[in-house]
């Protein structure tokens, strides 16, 4: 038996198929992963993300510390409640983890990291914090619920305390607010509008049930994966890890190179890689025919070289198979993928595949 979130019983009662995810017993789906996927694209769905790790970084040195720890620059956060996506790098440029950091003030930040990497992340953060005046505190286990989809915010707003509704609905994308013991952020991992809410553990099941009553459909990790893949969002441990740099993982946009003098962990290594024109591309693939692209399949680019699919699957929105892949350098838009000994044509495209319910790639 793995660790269980405060919402585990609700999943079991709802007939969820439970799987192990980074040591946690989590719902894979509640009957149909495809229907859950479409619910999020077309209406509203929700995910239990309570397994994720929430860490508060406080103290006089908090800003300096995070400017050293993260490849993105928290000095760029100037509005209270603003969130930022960043990688945390090793000195050699490998990715320790990806995360979201929320800014409250220059001495108070909140960082949300992946569940499967909790132990190594905490060890890494603590090790790096040595010379800074900061305290790093893992928040006691709470319930985290991501409500996602075009109707998600409106439906979820009927459930949260009345005095916070207007402020919550007024949140701009990538903004968060603390509403008494609730934390509400207009963020997500699906390519749809929505909120991620942190609620006290003992209220988690009650919120979940009220969201169900409001018409939000419970969705499992299966749909979460196809939604994020369509949205062209990386999954840590699959699309990038300690052996790959953000520059070869489609995450160059998350590196803050300016100002030059900011010496974040991994900067030297990245600077060298950045000058290398032969570094691998990170792209989307669209399978021209029928079949399903899967993780680790070999990609052949005629006359150029070979690469590998990092995450592949079936896109319920496009009704075609799509993938993210690390490919050799070069200018090309066609490739082939080897499946069961045969080569199949794929188009090389720029993710995302779908945003806000609409295909962004012509099929």
């Amino acid at each position: 038996m793995g660790k269980r979130t405060p919402l585990y019983d609700a999943h079991a009662v709802a007939g969820a198929r439970i799987v192990d995810f980074g040591g946690w017993d989590m719902p894979l789906h509640y009957g149909s992963q495809l229907e859950e996927h479409h619910a999020v694209r077309q209406h509203a769905g929700m995910f239990d993300v309570s397994h994720m790790t929430v860490v508060d970084v406080d103290g006089e040195g908090a800003t300096d510390f995070l400017r050293r720890l993260l490849a993105n620059d928290v000095a760029r956060l100037t509005v209270v409640g603003k969130a930022m996506y960043s990688c945390m790098l090793r000195p050699d440029g490998g990715v320790v983890d990806d995360l979201i950091v929320y800014f409250f003030d220059r001495t108070h930040y909140r960082v949300v990291v992946n569940a499967a990497t909790r132990d190594k992340d905490l060890a890494w953060i603590n090790k790096q914090s040595g010379n800074f005046e900061v305290t790093v505190t893992e928040r006691p286990k709470t319930a985290m619920i991501a409500v996602q989809g075009p109707q998600a915010r409106q439906l979820a707003a009927t459930v949260i305390p009345q005095q916070w509704r207007a402020a919550a609905l007024a949140l701009k994308p990538f903004m968060a607010l603390e509403a008494d013991d609730l934390f509400i952020a207009r963020t997500g991992y699906t390519g749809e509008d929505g909120w991620e809410l942190i609620v006290p553990a003992d209220q988690g099941a009650s919120y979940w049930q009220q969201f169900v009553n409001a018409g939000i459909r419970p969705c499992g990790l299966g749909a979460r994966d196809t939604l994020r893949l369509e949205a062209g969002m990386n999954l840590y441990g699959t699309d990038m890890d300690e052996t790959t740099s953000p520059l070869e993982s489609g995450l160059g946009w998350t590196i803050a190179w300016e100002p030059d003098e900011r010496d974040f962990v991994g900067r030297c290594a990245l600077t060298e890689m950045r000058a290398n024109n032969e570094r691998r591309r990170f792209c989307g693939l669209l399978l021209e025919g029928r079949g399903v692209l899967r993780n680790h399949l070999r990609v052949v680019v005629d006359g150029v070289g070979e690469g590998e699919i990092t995450s592949g699957g079936f896109s319920p929105t496009l009704e075609r198979s799509i993938a993210l892949a690390r490919l050799p350098a070069g200018d090309y838009d066609r490739a082939q993928v080897e499946m069961r000994g045969k080569l199949f044509d794929v188009r090389v495209v720029k993710p995302p595949f779908v945003r806000n319910g609409v295909a962004t790639i012509e099929v």
Binding site: R17, L28, H29, S32, Q33, L34, G222, T226, R290, G291, V292, R294, G313, F314, P316, S321, R340
Partner: protein
């Protein structure tokens, strides 16, 4: 889980077989198998006329989760394939013993090691799920 149809026989690879009056055998995967696979999105079928051998590859079913080989439970010649699965692989999820059939084979020998509905039910109940 659906009740197992009594007129079929089953294999430990979670396939079902129906003896047809014309001597052929219709084959599909069981409700247990489709449930474990999750939503099906693609089925690769053999060619009609192709010879298959017992225990050899016959078809591939791909779900949102994974690809799984379907092994032929008998040796023989493929006499029919369910073409409708190309556009609606989800029939295997919704009607595994009916519209979700996969192939029809004219066996060159008797299927070996099959189970009655009761035996298959016991077999499934004994699996760690």
């Amino acid at each position: 889980m659906q009740e197992l149809p009594g007129d079929l026989i089953y294999t430990s690879e979670h396939e079902w077989l129906r003896q047809e009056e014309d001597g052929t055998v219709t084959i599909g995967i069981t409700d247990h198998a489709q449930e474990a696979l999750g939503d099906l999105v693609y089925v690769e079928l053999p060619e009609v006329g192709q010879e298959v051998v017992s225990g050899g590859d016959m078809a591939v079913v791909e779900s949102v989760k994974a690809a799984s080989d379907v092994y032929s439970p008998v040796s023989g010649e493929v006499t029919g394939v369910n073409e409708a699965l190309a556009d609606s692989p989800e029939s295997i999820n919704s009607d595994p013993y009916g519209d979700g059939w996969i192939v029809r084979i004219r066996p060159s020998e008797e299927a070996a090691g099959t189970m009655t509905p009761n035996d298959y039910q016991e077999f499934v109940d004994g699996l760690d799920d």
